[in-house]
Amino acid sequence: MTAAVEAEVGRARRRKEDARLITGRTRWTDNLTLPGMLHLAILRSPVAHARIAAVDTSAAEAMPGVLAVLTGVDLAKEQGSMGCAWPVTPDMAAPQHPAMAVDTVRYAGEAVALVVAASAYQARDALDAIDVEYADLPVVLDVTRALAADSPLVHPEFGSNRCATWVFDSAEAGTGGETAPAIADAEVVLRRRFRQQRIIPAFMEPRSVLVDPTGDQVTMWSATQVPHILRMMLAATLGLPEHKLRVIAPDVGGGFGGKLQVTPEEVLVLLAARRLGRPVKYTETRSDSMLSCHHGRDQFQDLTLAARPDGTITALEVELLADLGAYLGLLTPGIPLLGAFMFNGIYRIPAYRFTCTSVFTNKMYTDAVRGAGRPEATFGIERMMDELAAELGLDPLEVRRRNWIGHEQFPFTTVAGLTYDSGNYEAATDRATELFDYQGLRREQARRREQDDPTLLGIGVSTYTEMCGIAPSKVLGSLSFGAGGWEHAAIRMLPTGKVEVVTGSSPHGQGHETAWSQIVADRLGVPFEDVEVLHGDTQISPRGMDTYGSRSLAVGGVAVLLAADRVLDKARPVAAHLLGCAAEDLDFAAGRFTARGTENGVSIQEVTGAVFAAHDLPDGFEPNLDAQATFDPENFSFPHGTHLCAVEVDTETGAVKIRSYVCVDDVGTVVNPLIVDGQVHGGVVHGIAQALFEEASYDELGNLTTGTFADYLLPTAADLPHLVTDRTVTPATSNPLGAKGVGESGTIAATPAVVNAVVDAVRHLGVTDIEMPCTPQRVWRAIGGGA
């Protein structure tokens, strides 16, 4: 008999991993202690650009507890050069990138020496006794002047601060027309320069790395998003045989892209541990983290939008000037290019040209931060849509309607060459305007203006889409990326009928253990509680491409689904054998194979037990139900949605208060609504934070002036509105789950919605842009307050 069981997929289960994560009763890297473990501290450059004239380590070496003090010169022969996996053009300038500076420092925060000592405090204290003599060099900080002929150079060997110039042109690609004639002929041409400020990923758990060199294999624990990539890259960077290295990402407390990196710290700890032959641990302080964890965004966008008087867009040109900082991290030069495919947004644009010039400066390098390239692009186009609406005196929603891809037009190949498989922008927008009381707020806005109310109301729109579920390997290949975009999963059926799921995705807060369990519980018909999800250890899960780019469910989750299907395929002949019928005559539901038309059945657990015993199996059956699958998606997934934001702007202080925020997202099939809501909330808040609060600033000497959470502002609950979230469901057609990514969509959508709202509130005062973050002071200045 089969009892009706509630489907797991779609169920708002609380996350099974939360109890241990929230209470801290788990193995964060810094919680680990190994016998004989030593502690490492890093001396960081206090200057942005200098020659290292001399380093005297003798006093530090004599400090209590100190076992070793190492400089870049000591490590020069073995440290190699940190790898960049994305050579975006054949002529890209790819500088040497030592884990520890050898003769020159190029940003404040770069490692110049390390101490290994018996305790973390002794190691830290000994840093103060290291004497470094710096011969200052001129600094390059302003990206808009870095290409001038007389600019100081970050890497003189290239003769320029230019890293690469990358162009996409729809006429050349055959995906659209030429932009120049379209712009020349257009009746309406808008030009805007927007700034995407530099931000810091600000994950909750500081990075930590522990290396045990004492076995035959070297084992590294690291608070990383990418244990598999890390292992491969360390092997390549250090010439270490890959099979002699095991990398473990135990529980990891957030990343937001900031732990999608192979870091100098990981290399340095490994080298130090190997030298000393003892386990060595390094855990960064928050201030270290702000300085030396890669930053994100940081670009100027020059946009030209051509349109007809009715608002129909005829061409879009984008010129990016991207500040890469001093070196290339794992993906640095490729991040702005992810925007190339997204500046056209959800719109039918006949001609499109994108140019990105990336530049070196004396700052921390930039790399992926939540959304990576796509928030920048979405900001650009969604800000432009509001500007176009204002220029033409149209409602911003109406301008979008006139240009977006109709739901009946999918699949739709865009001017940037991507094929959007599915979507329904009308449905999401209708639902959002209804929840928002769009017309009511417009009336209030008009009333406040008429009454000269010092508090004005502004409404901002963002109808976004994004490409995620990274990525079809072929597409990555065409973009010169150094690896594929598949994901791997394996399922192990234990003798008692319990199930182990091994995933190559590497969760750091997203809830994979719960979602994967739900998928497998449904597919195999086993209880949710009977599924254990294993991850983040190259020994347990040898194949994987890890977690970033909203790829886990839409790629890794699908691999899990496929592996579960293979388990069933294997189990079927055994079930038929046990039931004495033909495999074709079996039905499978709720964990039971039944001979069609009979009550005769056997559970998946019974089949598993029978295979384990192997006493009575079909002839030639290999006694093993375990299965694996590697899924390489045929396309990206394209979540979309409509976000509407209303802000109140206090024109006397410039303070912005978010009055209401509505988002209706379409992320395809939802495995766990609670997890999706969590991602949307976190994502939207992250996007709001960029609009109103966060900015990494450097002073004129290249010192990071926002190096603590007192100055690098993250919003608190008191700064945030109640978020109204809802969904439409248009399943993705590019994967059998129908799932689209959701980890980044909120961040991508929210920033332009908020800034559009702030600008809308004060547009009648002559304002067309306010640089992010829209702090009270900047808003006050924009409306003519003063300096």
């Binding site: 206090d650 303070a655 609060f693 100055d711 502002l713 608190t716 609950a717 702090t775 002071q777 006050w780």
Partner: protein
Amino acid sequence: MDFLIPSTFAEALAIKAERPEVVPIAGGTDVMVELNFDHRRPTALLDLTRIAELTEWAPSENLLRVGAGVPYVRIIDELGDRLPGLAMASRTVGSPQIRNRGTVGGNLGAASPAGDTHPVLLACDAQVEVASVRGTRMIPAAEFYLGVKRNALEPDELIAAVHLAPAAAPQQFSKVGTRNAMVIAVCSFAVALHPEQGRVGAAVGSAAPTPRRALAAEEFLAGELSDAGLWESPKPLLDSVRRRFGELAAEAASPIDDVRGTAAYRRHALAVLARRTLGWAWQDYCGTGETRSQSCA
């Protein structure tokens, strides 16, 4: 480093006399930050949290004596009705965790120009009671702040308490910050009405090397109020009066440009804060407006 745990105030004073270099620690919300950032390495910490006398408050003559170690959360809960200005400032400090531990004594000990209680203590004519083995003295708040993070304590002295009159009329505190919680003030302002003296107290925070009284603003308003007989028969204030008060309050400041705000913005925002807080307080005094308990501008 020694960690000294006296259980009476007398014992603490004896230690401070003998070893003036020891660093007192109350809630630790400033001290621990300094230690963690390695800004200082004291030879000893003097823990004040076990000293019962410091964590009490009581009426003393016609004033309230609030022990230096009473945490913000208790000021809000227990003294919100009698010391509304101090309670408002307390509410804007940090986060619940910080308000559970942080104290007014610590705010005074740190003497940061951005400390939130300072403008209120100035506007309310508070007296700081300090003690040493040599005896006890009262320092008016206006004479307590000497410079950036410098106060009038002698090396052997500890802060015992602050003395303030229970409010006889409305008080207001407001702060402009870069976000709504967990934030160092860009500028702050406190105003307290003293009808029995026919004057108002007004003070600016985070806009000069020390918190400061806005004397010109106080005098201007006292004159306006008594000339028009408004204390006796309160009427809404003219907009021009509130604006002038704001301008004069802003002139009391000598702000700087820093990451949190430019001097020009601080001066402007102070004028707005002063005008608004005065408006709220006076409205309450007139009995017309609804009573405001929140204090965010």
